[in-house]
Symmetry: D2
Subunit: 287 residues, 4 copies
């Protein structure tokens, strides 16, 4: 028994999302991009640096995460930064480097688009368009991204309810794009002393009941601490995540952004080994 | 990268807790109660009804959780209820029933004490004294409970930071009682539509770095939904929990409180089987 | 229009509080203690130090707040502190000093009781028993405090909903004590960089619709900053508060606790002058 | 004293915002638009419907708020809605109607731009560009809006810290646009049962110390309830607000969005009368 036991039970008369509703596809939807399938038998791991910083940094990291078993390379070209005086990303140059890394490693590319005016450009390079946490409610951006036909990785707003998140997915689905991946990345709570955000793993089984869309977890933003990432990656898989999004940097100490939450390529290799051993006991392969 | 990237890095000059500090016992502390050890090789499972409602309900549930592998029986005698018009617990009669269940099953007993005037009474019956979420900052109560010499299960205040929680543990330790178990049970956030609380599994690896005390997770309050309990129990073990506290009721639909978050004895049996299979791949036995 | 526009409208079928319900006394209840009436034509100001520290400190502050127009003297004898190593209050000695200050100045005394075992003692000295924010849900303590027949100043739990707060008041009312003052003192939110808490002034007009009990505002804890106290005291009166609870110290820089949020006796004098001029334009006298 | 008394004092080594810093203009900045000046001797009232719904609705409301003393007309043309199935605004047609209302009444126009692709269009009509709560961190949008040279009403993200808000203002200032108005509109907290948001009036005096920019308060979104708007408007002025943004509808019951928080033209008239009487006692005229 606890504090909210007598709170009003506010049963929803009906789910306000339609196309995102689990009832549309009770056994779940798979989203296939190239030779990678989300929502199926495999937990798909996406990894790479927070931001693309240089050719060396990106290629070195890409090769390492590929070797360790990642299937998708992440890397930011356009970076939403709280301060206008912080590094804002390399933009188009970063996109070119991502394409080069794809050509060399065969990894798919996921990268963020943060403004409607960049959608066309980013979509020419990315295999998966990421909508960041700050933009989950930028509805016109969602619609434009949807219009490209590319799969969308929709991060949860750090201040958004699950209901609001699913309605943002609904905007994409309603614009004719059915390939949506939901990514839990931590929410903002009253306690941010030890971790940057509170990773909400409750959201994983909740989403499995509410929607048919695959669910990804980002333990890097979800904790903000490299030392906690492996443990929470493991917990995310145990909670039923269909994929992981992990920040990996070939030299975290020199990272231009988010170095504190980026794990090294070595740590990533160890984590992948551990997840591969654990996966079968949770009914999933990890790749 | 994300919303709080530029937030002030507020490095603590030193940890404000002393006896609770990990540095006191870098390899962690074990807490032994009877033949049960917390913080060692085994994940200890505590289970039972939210509240003791009747002799039949308690004994039936106790036998079932014992058979499934639980080592400690939970059950509330004094219940903190948000409304004065809700069931407040059977009080002393419940304590007698708990003692009877212990005598029959050999399970240890954990039960909540919610007021200083009841400490002596509850300590005569309980093997472990529970301090509930609402009372985590009731410092005089903590001291009196500490004074009994009984081990204390200290639940996190649903609105308390990890720092505040560890300082509450420090009150107990500073009063000469070293047997403290910390129990994460979900925190209050802006989203309470789908789950009653947000289970903060980040807290588990954080605590493993900050303190030497064993860490328990309560997925029942942490979710408020019986259907999510098994998944989050699994995630808690993957996150490194030393124990679980789970509400189990022989007939959840008829429970006088928290029926929605109580799993049936059958579901508990299945969960225990699953955890026993999973444990070794996380380096722990489950019992 | 804004973020939560489509959130479920969760109309309460009925108010869960009965005796606290506005319908019980549609024009509002007044609470009279000695020659002071809360909830009537006057905004009642309670002022004094966070903690009683010494005879000089208390008497000097008491004389000054009396001269400036306060009617009730606040001062903590038993202090709930997050750390066991911080000053915990002078206990019984503080109560004696409060009684002496009352005898000299004619001010009524409000002081906190934080444990059931102290209720009888504190009630022998206090004119108004304060239940602190951390103990708003300590239901046995509420009942024992109610049983003394003394008026109760019930502070809002810093992460308690208005509903939970009113149900805590209901515990007191249901135990036969009708003299309850509700005190808003700031809630815990995601932003605590500039202020210690977020003073929730929305709560004042909400309470005026939900309940008949007088509403007090504590801008000292509500902001945690002496420099913001006068502005927010003014805003609280504009929002309809029936009283203010303000920390005043004869030498804030030397205060043993909460010095940062204590205003000086001079600042208090200025504030009272300002409030007396403003009051009539809000339909209230200030005293 | 209270719950966070021992929390780490995390003194900022320096303010991360530069152009927004109070030190840049210690006596405060005024922002002048047409014949209206924000941040000066007058509290400026902006009022109008949530969304432009029809010619009649807009003109009727505009005339009424003009007559009552408002100086700026608000009205949404592009509406960010949580659900894709809700009314999304009349778009360009609404902008034409706003221009017509301006021509007739002489009121200035403030309206929201929610996507970079609409900036040029909206800027052709608006006197003040509003950036909504959901888009406070849409940095490219902020820059594009800044580039139009129009004054910007920057609403606080409903879960953004004051620091983040000021850094968003910094984006605008750093792009050469110095006419920024900050608008507090309520934040998201754990309690949303009685009010849609928690209006954070602490933010008003905090901003007055941190920045030189004028501060506006929106009690309509800040409460979500028409019946609370007048009281909180009064409290906002008492807290030092330089302006108010209030939703007024000629027929709230028929509003296509946010009807529950829109006050009638009659209620607005009464409120303006009250504020005009109150203003001088707070050192401000109201207009």
């Amino acid at each position: 028994m606890g504090p909210t036991v007598d709170a009003p039970s506010c049963a929803l008369p009906s789910r306000p999302y339609r196309l995102a509703d689990r009832a549309v596809s009770p056994s779940g939807t798979t989203v296939t991009v190239g030779d990678v399938t989300f929502g199926g038998s495999h937990v798909v791991v996406m990894a790479g640096p927070c931001a693309v910083e240089s050719r060396d940094q990106l290629l070195q990291t890409a090769r390492a995460v590929r070797a360790a078993g990642a299937r998708v390379l992440r890397g930011g070209a356009f970076k939403p930064r709280t301060s206008p005086y912080d590094f804002q990303g390399l933009g188009r140059d970063a996109l070119e480097l991502l394409a080069e890394a794809r050509a060399e490693t065969g990894l798919l590319i996921v990268t963020e688009v943060m403004d409607s005016l960049d959608v066309e450009l980013v979509a020419r390079y990315a295999d998966i368009l990421q909508i960041g946490s700050r933009n989950m409610s930028a509805y016109r951006l969602l619609e434009r991204a949807a219009g490209t036909g590319k799969p969308i990785l929709l991060k949860r707003g750090f201040q958004s309810t699950i209901r609001e998140w699913l309605l943002s997915a609904e905007y994409i689905l309603a614009h004719g794009n059915s390939r949506v991946l939901l990514c839990e990345r931590g929410i903002r709570t009253f306690d941010a002393e030890f971790t940057r955000n509170t990773l909400d793993l409750n959201a994983v089984p909740v989403l499995k009941q509410e929607t048919h869309l695959p669910v990804i977890v980002d333990p890097s933003h979800g904790t903000g601490r490299a030392d906690l990432v492996p443990t929470m990656a493991r917990a995310a898989v145990a909670a039923g995540a269909d994929g992981l999004l992990i920040e990996v940097h070939c030299d975290p100490a020199s990272a231009l952004c988010d170095g504190k939450q980026s794990i090294s390529t070595e740590a990533f290799g160890s984590l992948m080994g551990e997840l591969r051993r654990l996966g079968p006991f949770l009914g999933r392969a990890v790749a």
